[in-house]
Symmetry: C2
Subunit: 194 residues, 2 copies
DNA sequence: TATTTATCTTGACACTGACTAGATTACTCG
DNA sequence: CGAGTAATCTAGTCAGTGTCAAGATAAATA
């Protein structure tokens, strides 16, 4: 840290962390490779060596994000509340890892065909789909429709929350607000299924 | 059009239209005032005179978008399908006016405190809220929760559709896909209420 | 017609992402 | 241990960007 300045040691991680900080404060559009380099105390072209590209950096952010989201959802799936907990966790992730979330669903910002990213993406959406199965039989709705409805609902709620378009008289904790709204979709959910 | 080059005549509209074209193809991040000026056959600083700012241009786009969305939803609210039609129309708007939609819910891109914009915003969300009232009584859910659930669902579905995160085996027409998914939320909707 | 106003141009500045060539350090393998 | 290779970072450059200031031109007004 205080010895040679040439080899940073952990520049890749440092750049990603700095990027997350910038995105949290000002959105993905405010990310500048040169600024991140400055924050890490390296030359302006150093980040490009690790990510190739500005889009490459955001690809790394998105991949990390899908991995994190997968972990969060997996953990929630084992809770007594069942699928409702997954939905609430989805919103919780969006708010707590806002920077990741804001990049993940903006494919024009990164290299959407990156293999690592595709794998992380597929792995997390699998959790969404599998969890919805038990709730689909009643009412005659297809499993896929139920999963899509649930995903759409929590994704939309999270997006609207982050963009500040929701009314101000909601619960302070977005998880509580999300739980109330998600119950409209699955009113018969109290922990008795799954 | 072929006479004097100095006064364009309708530059403001020309710039907005060009911006919408660019956004449709490459997203809001790809918008460059200088490029828009080039497309309109005008000097590089001309757009700034009409919008003050790049954010000012996007403010105009967002305001126009909220106005359009309001019209679309208002029209749908009068249809026999009732609130379901409103939800489907919301998704239809997002797909047909993709450029507007992608700017509208990204407040960091524009001047979110612009009075005109705030008015258009409030006016359209009012339609969303009023339409939900008839569907809230049964099941004991609050009116607000029902409205938020519906809005979240269609907004999330539209966002996921636009970002290409939905499975490939859905109906080609996003309206049909949206209708199927929205029915999960209001299964007892066939045109008999409202 | 004279003057005021809106519109547009020109030129400049600091900033950005990307590319190149080169310097420095770490790693590997004899 | 030491030479050679690879990884990492620097320095310089280029075209392109948003924004600002000052001036030119045309339209509207009175």
């Amino acid at each position: 840290m205080e010895t040679s300045n040439y080899h940073h040691g952990d520049l890749r991680r440092a750049i990603i962390d700095a990027a997350l900080e910038v995105i949290s404060e000002s959105g993905p559009a405010a990310v500048s490779l040169r600024d991140l380099a400055r924050r890490a105390g390296v030359s302006h072209a150093a980040p490009a060596h690790h990510f190739g590209d500005k889009a490459g950096l955001l690809t790394a952010v998105a991949t990390q994000g899908f991995g994190l989201l997968g972990d969060v959802l997996q953990r929630a799936a084992g809770q007594p509340e069942g699928y409702l907990a997954v939905g609430v966790a989805y919103v919780g992730f969006a708010v707590e890892h806002r920077a990741h979330f804001e990049v993940m669903f903006r494919p024009e910002l990164y290299h959407a065909d990156d293999p690592e990213l595709l794998e992380a993406q597929a792995s997390t959406s699998r959790i969404l789909y599998e969890g919805a199965a038990p709730y689909a039989q009643d009412g005659g709705t297809q499993t896929q429709d139920a999963a899509l409805a649930a995903w759409s609902l929590v994704h939309g709620f999270a997006s609207l929350w982050l963009s500040g378009n929701l009314p101000a008289d909601l619960p302070d904790d977005p998880r509580d607000a999300a739980r109330r709204v998600a119950r409209v979709l699955f009113p018969h959910t109290a922990g008795d299924i799954a």
